[in-house]
Symmetry: C2
Subunit: 317 residues, 2 copies
Amino acid sequence: MADKVLIYSRFPKAMMARFAERFELLDTAGKPAQEVFSSGALGGIRALLTAGGTPLGAGAMDLFPKLGAIVCYGTGYDGIDLKAAAARNIAVGHSPGANAASVADIAMTLMLAATRRILVADQYVRSGDWAASKPSPMMRPQAGLPSRRVGVYGMGEIGRKIAARCAAFESEVGYFSRTRHDVPYQYFSSLEALADWCSVLMIAVRAGVETHHVVNADILERLGEDGYIVNIARGSVIDEKALVAALTDKTIAGAGLDVYAKEPHAPDALTALPNLVLAPHIGGHTLESHIAMQDCVLANLTAFFAGQRLPYAVKTA
Amino acid sequence: MADKVLIYSRFPKAMMARFAERFELLDTAGKPAQEVFSSGALGGIRALLTAGGTPLGAGAMDLFPKLGAIVCYGTGYDGIDLKAAAARNIAVGHSPGANAASVADIAMTLMLAATRRILVADQYVRSGDWAASKPSPMMRPQAGLPSRRVGVYGMGEIGRKIAARCAAFESEVGYFSRTRHDVPYQYFSSLEALADWCSVLMIAVRAGVETHHVVNADILERLGEDGYIVNIARGSVIDEKALVAALTDKTIAGAGLDVYAKEPHAPDALTALPNLVLAPHIGGHTLESHIAMQDCVLANLTAFFAGQRLPYAVKTA
């Protein structure tokens, strides 16, 4: 009999196909587990598969008295209460670095699309306004990348890949992270100093209590009226209300967002604005990145059911 | 009295401001010069400022009996009949390399926006379909850049900058040009071989008789169903009808275009398609690229009126 794995978040079926070959999947489709399955069924569950951003605290863990492993599909694990898991001897696994290139690429896509106004440009051509020579104030020339300073917040695997890509665009690159890294970019000792210096701020920091809403009205003001913000990390890092205000009153020039405070919802105040590019959390959404993340999930689940340590366990400090 | 310069193409006024400080500008606003100015006025014209893509043949040159210089705003000069100019002792100048970074960046923007489906993604968020969990077939995961082979057609200053950027995205890079260059990318001896090998074809070749419609149905078929084409050079390089057909019947996956056969017109058959990203010839359209191009124009015009050779003359073989 195949080992049982409960699917705790909502995932497209296609992303689960490889797991279904090896395990018996109990799919909640993102609904509360206790509404979908009997307490008897939940009592037999030893492993959960979840999205790292989905909240999973002590109360939820206690729905599964035999739970021994929480496996996140992707790099993040910010939704998991790690202390509660440790207290219950529940191992937590993820897919470190598996999607780094793909996420760095969406960061670049959003930066380029926002600074070069590609949504406005495409609409200008398709509407016939270009052919009619209608003026388009949004299409005024902007600073290009060689004259921009790009600040990267967070210098993990994704931050490094973003920085390397930006350097190839002839941009000056600086960064802030808790510790200085051996990388060829200017280090700033605070997010404030980085925001003062740069004109594009790329958020690539791991989400958590200490990064909650650190990008606030003050940081956005420091970024300034020619500034852009790109977030591919987690919505919680930005004070979303402050961002809406900064975009509305042109405190900053624009933004590119792949993540939001409450996914899959992007607030109406945000979606109504023209000076930003929005993506539905597709950073890791490439063929090879899905395969790499699935490889990590399979390795974690297989090891767990074999009574071994998770090969891709979350490293806690 | 300021020297007179006739503005032969249609340019936004803001782009002409620096020239107006130094010269007396006779602006045709893109209309036929003889309809806008008297033959007396045209008879006194010694220098034209034009866009390189605007057709300017022997007949047009003969409207200006005293014409001594044709200065192109930008890198291209494909609209100018160089033989006719040489026969009349008319010097031809341009702005070599001044917009290379800016154009290379729009090539990357179009490639990323097309392969990562950023127009569809933005619409999926803004429409509320993401929040409503509506399926979106266009948002199926695509190959990411590290598993793509990017073929660059043309290895001038723009082609080199495109190749360097693509390499930073962890893509394999190959190229075809008339001659082999000292660059760290795989050389292909024909456009056919390059199209067989790559999944993204970046067109960065100089336009001219020998490159007219070289990207035809055969090349597009070689590129294949996962393939994308990006054109930031000139519309004339692609057989636009063949491209529409290839996009419509999914011979290729998508395209990103900054240039068209008959600008500022993009054919309806093209603008109706979802699997491409369109820009209104904004490759060189950044603040610093405009300044660099204007510097070249000013240097060319100033030298000409001082009786000197153009510092940025078109080099003819």
